[in-house]
Amino acid sequence: MDLKLASRKNKKKTIVDVDGIKIGEELVVIGGPCAVESEEQTLKAARAVKAGGGKILRGGAFKPRTSPYSFQGLGLKGLRILEKAKQETGLPIISEVMDSRDVTWVAEYVDILQIGARNMQNFSLLKEIGKTKKPTMLKRGMYSTLEEWLNCAEYILSEGNPNVILCERGIRTFESYTRNTLDLSMIPSVKEVTHLPIIIDPSHGTGKLSLIEPMAKAAIAAGADGLMVEVHPNPKNAKSDQQQQMTPEQFKKFMKNINALDNFING
C-alpha cells in the first residue's frame, strides 16, 4: 500500500481528542438519531444517549438520500438544533457534511465532521476538510477496498488535518438478508496498516435491530475503538432508517451489556 502519512510505519497510534474524549484510547459510543427531524425528537434522543452513557451525539442535518424525493434533512436549522442539544447535555456533536462549500459552516456547529460512505471518494470535499483541523470521521464507501479507503484518509491528512477517524459501516455483497455486510475483519486489518482509530457502525452495517448488539460485541472483541449506533425516541415514526434505530430503553440495555464486555476485555 502506497501510504505516507496514514501508514503505521510513521506513527504508532493517533488519538483524536474531542472535548476531552479520547478516541483511540477508550471505547467511545456515539449515539443519536439518523436524522435531525425536530427539536423535540433530537433533545429526547440526546437525553437518552447521555443517560445511557453515550459520549457523543450524532444526527444528520444534511442527508444523502438514495432518492431525491426522500427527506433531505433540515440543513442549517438542524445544525442549530444539534447545538441546542449540546448546550443542554454537554455531548459533543458529530454530523455529516456533503458539500465542500458547507465545510467551514458545518465545522462552526459540530465537533466532528462526518464524511458519508457515498462521499468517501469526493476528493474536493476531502481536500476542503483537510484544510480545517476539525476531527473528521471517514466512513468506508460501500464498494471500497481498504487501500482505497486509506487513500481517502491520506487526502485529508496530506492537507494538514491529522484528526482522522475511520468508520466501517458495511459493504455491498450478494447477501440480502442484512442491509450491508458488516466487515469486522477490517478492525485488525486497519490496526495492521495504519495508526488511525476505527469505529464500527452496526446500525447501518446490518440494518436490523436484532443484530446490532451481537455485532457490537464482536467489534469490541476485535479491538474497535468505538461504536456508532442510531437512537430515536420513537423509531416507528422516524423519517429514515426505521428498522435500525433503538429506543431509549433499548439503548440503555445495549450500553449495559457492551460495557460489561468492554470491562471484561479491556479492564
Partner: protein
C-alpha cells in the same frame, strides 16, 4: 386567485407596516426630545404649521380629511406621551445596539434614544435633551473605548450615576439563514469585527466597517445589499426581521462590555463604587504616592487607566470600592486631591453586572 402574487403583495404590505411603526416610533422619540427643550407641551401654532405642510403634500390616493384626522390623533398621542414625564437615555447606535440592551438592563423604564456618535450622547445629556446617557468604557476583548474616556477626561460637568456590565454575544445575521453559502461580505462596527476576526477568517468573509452593529443590521434588512450579512445582537435580528446564521461568533466566549451611565446631577442613593480622574506632576513617584494612599487605607482599586492628555502628560482614571458618604473615603479623597493636579470626582454609583 393568484396565490403567489398575493403572497408577494402581502409581504410588501407587512414590510411597509413595519416601516410605518418604526417611523411613528421615531416621530414620538423626537416629540419627547422636543418636550425637554420647549416651555409648554401643547403648541397650537406648531400643530397648525404641520397640518398646513402635510395637506399640501397629499398623495393622489389619500384624502385630505383622512390625513387631518390621522394627524390629529397623532398629536393627541404625542401629547399624552409628553405629559407622562418620561425619562430619556441617549445611547450610541441604532435600536438594537448593545448599548441599548445595557440601558434597558440598567433601568427598563427609561426611553432609549439612538444617537450617531458618543459625542452626541454626551452633548445631549449636557443640554438637557436626555436625562441620562449610556456609554461603553471598556470591553474584555477590545480593551478601552478611547473616544469615551477622552470625552470624560475633557468634561467637568457630567457625573457617573451608574455602571453596568453587559455580556456581548455577536450573531451573524442574514435575511435568509438557509442561504448562508451566498454570504461574502459582513457589515459591522469595527469593535465587533475585531472580536469576531477568527470566525470571519475561517469562513472567508470580507468585513466592512460601519458606525454601529445594529445600524449594520438595519442596513442589511432594508437595502439587502447582495451577498451581505451583518454582525449584531440577537435583539437586532428580532427588530429588523433578520435570521441568525450563527450565534456566539466572537473569538473568546467571555465577551463583556462595561458601560457608564452619565447624568447632570450626582445620584442621591447609596453607591458602592467611585470614579476619580486626576493627573500628576512630572516627578518620580507621584503616581505611586497616590496609589499608596489607597493601599494604606486598604481600599480595593478596581480599575486604573491612563490616557494621554496633551503634550507628554497623562490623566489617570481610578475606580475603587467605597461610598462617598463614608467619612473615611472623604478623608482619603481630600488627601488624593492634595497630591494630584486636575483632580475631579466623577461620581459614586452602584456597579451592576448583568448575567
Amino acid at each position: 386567485m393568484n396565490n403567489k402574487l398575493l403572497k408577494q403583495i402581502r409581504k410588501n404590505i407587512d414590510y411597509i407596516d413595519k416601516k410605518i411603526i418604526h417611523l411613528l416610533n421615531e416621530r414620538m422619540e423626537n416629540a419627547l426630545k422636543a418636550s425637554k427643550v420647549k416651555d409648554a407641551i401643547e403648541d397650537k401654532s406648531r400643530e397648525k404649521q404641520i397640518l398646513a405642510k402635510i395637506s399640501s403634500k397629499e398623495g393622489n390616493l389619500i384624502d385630505k380629511e383622512f390625513t387631518l384626522e390621522l394627524y390629529k390623533s397623532l398629536f393627541d398621542e404625542s401629547r399624552t406621551l409628553q405629559e407622562k414625564g418620561l425619562k430619556l437615555i441617549g445611547f450610541q447606535g441604532a435600536h438594537g445596539a448593545y448599548s441599548e440592551m445595557a440601558a434597558k438592563n440598567w433601568n427598563k423604564k427609561l426611553v432609549s434614544i439612538p444617537c450617531d456618535t458618543f459625542a452626541e450622547v454626551f452633548e445631549g445629556v449636557k443640554t438637557g435633551l436626555y436625562d441620562y446617557g449610556i456609554l461603553p468604557v471598556e470591553n474584555t476583548l477590545g480593551g478601552v473605548v478611547g473616544t469615551v474616556n477622552e470625552l470624560l477626561m475633557n468634561d467637568d460637568e457630567l457625573k457617573i450615576v451608574g455602571a453596568i456590565e453587559q455580556p456581548i454575544e455577536h450573531c451573524l445575521l442574514y435575511p435568509e439563514a438557509e442561504k448562508f453559502r451566498d454570504i461574502r461580505k459582513v457589515y459591522s462596527h469595527s469593535q465587533a469585527i475585531s472580536q469576531c476576526k477568527r470566525f470571519l477568517e475561517r469562513n472567508n468573509l470580507e468585513p466592512v466597517k460601519y458606525y454601529d452593529t445594529a445600524g449594520a443590521a438595519k442596513l442589511v434588512a432594508e437595502e439587502k445589499p447582495e451577498a451581505t450579512g451583518a454582525i449584531a445582537s440577537s435583539l437586532a435580528a428580532e427588530l429588523y426581521d433578520l435570521e441568525i446564521v450563527k450565534q456566539n461568533i466572537e473569538n473568546v466566549s467571555n465577551n463583556r462590555t462595561r458601560f457608564f451611565i452619565l447624568s447632570k446631577s450626582a445620584q442621591s442613593q447609596q453607591g458602592d463604587k467611585c470614579t476619580i480622574i486626576f493627573s500628576t506632576a512630572h516627578k518620580a513617584g507621584t503616581l505611586f504616592n497616590v496609589l499608596s494612599i489607597f493601599a494604606d487605607a486598604k481600599i480595593n482599586l478596581t480599575r486604573i487607566e491612563s490616557m494621554p492628555s496633551g503634550t507628554g502628560n497623562y490623566s489617570f482614571f481610578l475606580d475603587f470600592i467605597g461610598s462617598i458618604k463614608d467619612e473615611k473615603i472623604q478623608k482619603i479623597l481630600k488627601e488624593v486631591q492634595d497630591n494630584t493636579e486636575n483632580y475631579r470626582f466623577m461620581g459614586c454609583y452602584k456597579e451592576r453586572s448583568n448575567q
